[in-house]
């Protein structure tokens, strides 16, 4: 199982005053460190119009990471694809792929914040359909010298992408949040599927739904891949780990999860302004795994046994590299390729 991480501060976290440019510099340093410590991938997220100056262009941030690394894969997560024209997205992705000598990975999500769609002038209701079409378009654009596409939302005739990507195609993951509907859509469409934070039990159910939908749609098994984002809190004791979770919730997650409509109830409706007692919020809280080091390793092993090819986690990179990664390494970390590419 591969391990992806992130780092630095591509926004100004509430209650943690710091210069944004210093955070950007820290992001570049964190990418270099992740590679040195043996992580497999490094990521960047996306949001717009945020009071905290959240990074709006993950592919651009990853280009900075590309310049100081040569091995780690560079993945967006989540890039809000319905806010891009698919060719526009493919161009940004191809530039990263060339700059990184073929290490770009697209993690594409639907987005959910109403004002982001209003700011960009795109329809929110059609975002699921548009994401699915866009994935097809980007696959075509980064696989063929020239391509055409005739979809419900997007149409292109005899288009050639500049630059031509190194990877043919650039790998794309469908980032489907935590809803069962998303898992089913990913399977039906035959997309590799990167789950958002969920408890193991819910993850099991989503993976089952994903595989069932893929099987029924006739997709070959080798195309169907699963991976997960998994926030973990580690302590000397369970109580200490749970205390850390409270800090993470208070400093970062609560506003993102309780506001903005991230949470979706069982009927697929967005929940705004939920209280901390709301079942879907509690479901999110339980998705952040708390435990001692041994418990966390055991939990991650369960994800590996489920067939996960990768997991993205946060936390102290030195600790994770020293204590967790070796538990999952069956051989040496792949050596950095010879300096053939654009990046160092």
């Amino acid at each position: 199982m591969e391990f992806f991480t992130g780092g630095g501060a591509l926004w100004k976290a509430r209650g943690m005053p710091a210069a944004l440019a210093d955070g950007y510099e820290g992001y570049v340093a964190a990418a270099r460190l992740a590679e040195e410590l043996g992580f497999d991938g490094f990521g960047a997220p996306e949001h717009h119009f945020m009071y905290d100056s959240f990074i709006p262009l993950p592919l651009q941030a990853l280009a900075a990471a590309a310049a100081v690394t040569s091995r780690v894969k560079l993945k967006t997560g989540a890039m809000l694809q319905p806010l891009y024209d698919p060719i526009e997205a493919a161009e940004y992705a191809a530039v990263l792929d060339v700059v990184s000598s073929g290490r770009a990975i697209l993690g594409l999500g639907m987005g959910y914040r109403p004002y982001e769609f209003d700011g960009f002038g795109y329809d929110k209701k059609s975002r699921g359909e548009r994401l699915a079409e866009a994935i097809r378009v980007i696959e075509l654009a980064t696989s063929n010298d020239t391509f055409s596409f005739e979809g419900k939302h997007y149409q292109y005739r005899d288009v050639s992408l500049s630059p031509r990507s190194v990877q043919r195609p650039i790998p794309i993951w469908y980032l489907g949040g935590t809803s069962i509907q998303a898992a089913q859509r990913a399977g039906r469409e035959g997309f590799p599927y990167w789950l958002a934070n969920s408890s193991f039990e819910r993850t099991q159910r989503m993976v089952a739904e994903y595989r069932k939908a893929a099987f029924e749609a006739g997709w070959p098994e080798e195309r169907m891949q699963i991976a997960a984002q998994k926030d973990i809190c580690i302590g000397e004791t369970l109580a200490e780990a749970e205390e850390r979770r409270l800090q993470i919730l208070d400093n970062f997650y609560d506003e993102h999860i309780l506001g903005y409509g991230y949470l979706v109830d069982d009927r697929g409706r967005h929940v705004y302004g939920a209280t901390r007692e709301h079942p879907v919020y509690q479901q999110f809280v339980s998705s952040i795994y708390c435990g001692t080091l041994e418990m966390v390793v055991e939990e991650l092993k369960r994800y590996e046994a489920l067939g996960m090819t990768a997991v993205s986690i946060g936390g102290d990179p030195h600790f994770i590299a020293e204590k967790i990664l070796p538990e999952f390494r069956r051989g040496p970390v792949a050596a950095a390729p010879a300096a053939q590419g654009v990046s160092q």
Binding site: W11, L20, A21, Y24, V28, H48, F49, M50, Y51, D52, S53, F54, I55, P56, L57, L59, Q60, A61, A63, A64, A66, A67, V68, Y84, D85, E88, E91, Y92, A94, V95, L96, V98, V99, G102, P114, Y115, D118, G119, F120, G121, S160, L161, S162, P163, R164, V166, E255, H256, L258, G259, Y260, G261, H270, Y272, G273, Q340, G341, V342, S343, Q344
Partner: protein, 310 residues
């Protein structure tokens, strides 16, 4: 006068090889004291760079001194919000070294007014917090009513503060584009091929850019006209940075778009162009086939650039 470099990338090399050659040359040029690196938005061959901000963000992590400029940025291929955001992100990664030059309307199939609106929009995005924009080509946010003032406008009064995460599904009438650039006002340039844009840019104090494929004679005429109109509009000389992009051949022949000659001849030619046009930034347009020929860069940097001012 500032001296920069830009590149043609159509010499048949793979994208990785062509871009690596440029990056290597940028590092050499930074060491020689060149002032800027310009990556042009282009399509049409496999090595063309359609998203120069990302390329330059990679450059930012490898150079500390060069100004980083996007050239030929089109207004209809990438979203106008993203045009504002990408300059700000590059500016933060480079700590204030970002700038952008927009392509002429006539060579990108859009109306001049579309380019003008895009420039007004990105400048508003960088300099104001919550705002909206109503134009013929740009409306931000989407639900901005026809009754809104033309161009950028801000709320008359701030109203009660509601944290963003408590907005719910309601659409705010004004939005702030973030992050803001590191610099207060990143430099903005526009190609002045079109008369309408030339006059508009001169009146607004938007710096002019003349591309390498415009004959020098025409470039001089257009930059002179720009200077005259800017002066008439009361735009101070210090508010703009006229840019002339040329091919340069040290010890070579002068051509319609090429500056050639001995170092002494080049000094006289460039000083003459500066006197005629008021240009303050010369960009040497190179071919990726020329990269690796550091000798020419060294000669220019050591024998021409230091002698451009008496």
């Amino acid at each position: 006068m500032r001296i920069g470099l830009s590149w043609d990338v159509g010499d048949g090399r793979s994208p990785v090889d062509a871009w690596k050659a440029i990056l290597d040359e940028i590092e050499v040029a930074a060491g020689y004291g060149f002032d800027s690196a310009w990556m042009t938005e282009e399509r049409g061959n496999p090595a063309s760079c359609s998203a120069p901000a990302s390329f330059l963000t990679a450059v930012a992590a490898r150079s500390r001194s060069l100004q980083l400029r996007m050239a030929g940025r089109t207004v209809n291929r990438h979203h106008f919000v993203r045009l504002a955001e990408e300059v700000a992100v590059l500016d933060l990664f480079s700590r204030g070294r970002a700038g952008v030059s927009f392509a002429a309307a006539s060579r990108t199939g859009v109306a001049p007014g579309h380019v003008h609106e895009a420039i007004d929009f990105v400048r508003a995005a960088w300099s104001t917090d919550e705002f909206r924009f109503r134009g013929d080509y740009i409306r931000f946010p989407r639900h901005t009513p026809d009754s809104a003032p033309a161009g950028a406008s801000e709320p008359d009064a701030p109203g009660a503060y509601v944290p963003q995460w408590e907005w719910g599904p309601d659409m705010p009438d004004f939005l702030s584009i973030t992050p803001k650039p590191y610099a207060v006002n990143p430099p903005v340039y526009v190609e002045i091929d079109d008369d309408e844009t030339l006059a508009w840019a001169a009146a607004r104090g938007v710096s002019p850019f003349v591309r390498a494929d415009v004959p020098t004679e025409t470039a001089v005429e257009r930059l002179r006209r720009y200077r005259s109109l800017a002066a008439r509009a009361g735009v101070p000389r210090s508010a703009t940075e006229p840019v002339l992009e040329r091919r340069v051949v040290v010890d070579g022949a002068t051509g319609p778009t090429t500056l050639g000659g001995t170092p002494e001849a080049l000094i006289n030619t460039i000083r003459g162009l500066r006197a005629q046009t008021g240009m303050s930034h010369l960009v040497w347009r190179r071919s990726t086939a020329e990269t690796g020929e550091a000798k020419a860069l060294y000669r220019f940097a050591s024998q021409v650039q230091p002698l451009l001012q008496a």
